[in-house]
Symmetry: C2
Subunit: 238 residues, 2 copies
DNA sequence: CGGCTGATTGATTGTGCTCAATCAGTGTGG
DNA sequence: CCACACTGATTGAGCACAATCAATCAGCCG
């Protein structure tokens, strides 16, 4: 049973929930967590309208969350990499409001939310950490709000690449070379662009020498220029 | 001292924090809350980089939150009406990441977050309610994400008007006639549009007979059409 | 092989931005 | 008191960025 790794043995514990729990109490957290079978690419972890029971920590692979509009259109709302928590948008409604689907083979730790709340009553640092996590989510959404409402298509893609790079680095992986877990469609959808636009920007970035792209493999060659791109295009004419 | 209204006497208690606290324990919550002097229009409640100490409940008036991009541009990230909580995006960083400014004369209840956390350790329903509040915030941001990335300018304005209408109704006020607390500039900024576009849509909605607009006073005449607008424009050609 | 999905590139169109002028309301100072 | 400036809102004309439509290509699997 390879998927019964305890938090103690998990390499992600420094960036996951355990970072908020003293070693002595880690067992208590560990005991409430379910480790399910791996999800295959395309499989759903939960769907909108499912009863909300748990939040989930990604252990390996990657997932996306999305909502469907009234007219059936999909809107990708987030990408989740190892060490990150998803499913928190269902707390207030007792049912999930978004769908979560594996972008590639993925394993997750299921954390029953009722039990997590109980545990948070006993471990103040865990309560605080969870407030922080949700606060972070809100803050990231504000950044995204800015991105979608003010920034050009180029800025948006640059910002996403830099975000993925930073999150890779946080996990101790390369910040310059990585593989995109999601398709061009998902990138475009998430950023509010057309697939064609995303594709064009990738080639443009590559022609500028800022990036090396081959399918889903990306290498960041000129981080500074990407950052500048993301800060807005008006500096160009200075 | 007109601004020392206890939660017990506050007309907003059914929709504000007290709804999560049993009457017997309401005094405990009440004791940790500061009621400051009213803010004048344009005054800041907090600024980005201020130490994060508290979250705030709006008692009267209205506020907006906004962030500044690296190039100094303002992005309005939210509007807050009586009974609503703001400032939750600062929890994880120990300092605020957004600015909050009064759109009109406003009074707020300051809730020191450290004390709220302590109290949440004792009152599970308060902890749960606060998780719910943040979850709601996240959910609203996902809706906004969809709005900004997929919907037309008309859809966006319709959605904002319907949101304000619903929030007015929640406070026991008219859902069809109300006054916009924010300028056209703020509306445009929030929705990722140009002021001119917002202005044009207002007149178009009025010409269609869906709305009566006079400056900041709005009357919703045809809610169904506005909803349809918000659901997407493709139904038009059926 | 042929059919399929995902990605790239090209040509054209359209929504909403930019620039610009006007207007109403409000407060200011001579 | 009125002229003036100033801000916020509205309306018009032209343009640009990204969407749409369309074709091609690469990889994958039956």
């Amino acid at each position: 049973m390879p998927h019964h790794v305890s938090c103690n043995d998990c390499s992600l514990s420094p960036i996951c929930l355990p970072l908020a729990v003293a070693p002595a109490q880690l067992d208590e957290l560990d005991r409430i967590i379910y480790r399910g079978r791996p999800l295959k690419r395309g499989e759903h972890l939960f769907r909108a309208a499912d009863d909300f029971q748990s939040v989930y920590a990604v252990r390996s692979g990657a997932l996306k969350t999305y909502v469907l509009s009234d007219d059936g259109e999909e809107q990708v709302t987030g990408f989740y990499l190892p060490g990150e928590i998803l499913g928190m948008d269902g707390i207030s409604t007792a049912h999930h409001v978004s769908n979560a689907r594996a972008l590639e083979t993925a394993t997750v730790c299921e954390i029953p939310f009722g039990r997590l709340e109980s545990l948070s009553q006993k471990i103040p640092s865990l309560q605080h950490h969870f407030f922080s996590l949700m606060s972070n989510e809100i803050r990231a959404d504000r950044e995204l709000h800015m991105l979608l409402s003010k920034k050009s298509a180029d800025d948006r893609l640059a910002a996403l690449l830099l975000s993925l790079s930073a999150r890779n680095q946080r996990r101790g992986l390369s910040k310059s070379t990585f593989r995109l877990p999601m398709s061009r469609y998902d990138i475009a959808n998430y950023l509010g662009l057309a697939v064609e636009t995303v594709s064009r920007i990738f080639t443009r970035f590559q022609q500028s020498g800022w990036l090396r792209v081959e399918g889903r493999d990306v290498e960041i060659l000129d981080r500074a220029s990407l950052c500048g791109q993301e800060r807005g295009a008006m500096e160009a004419d200075l």
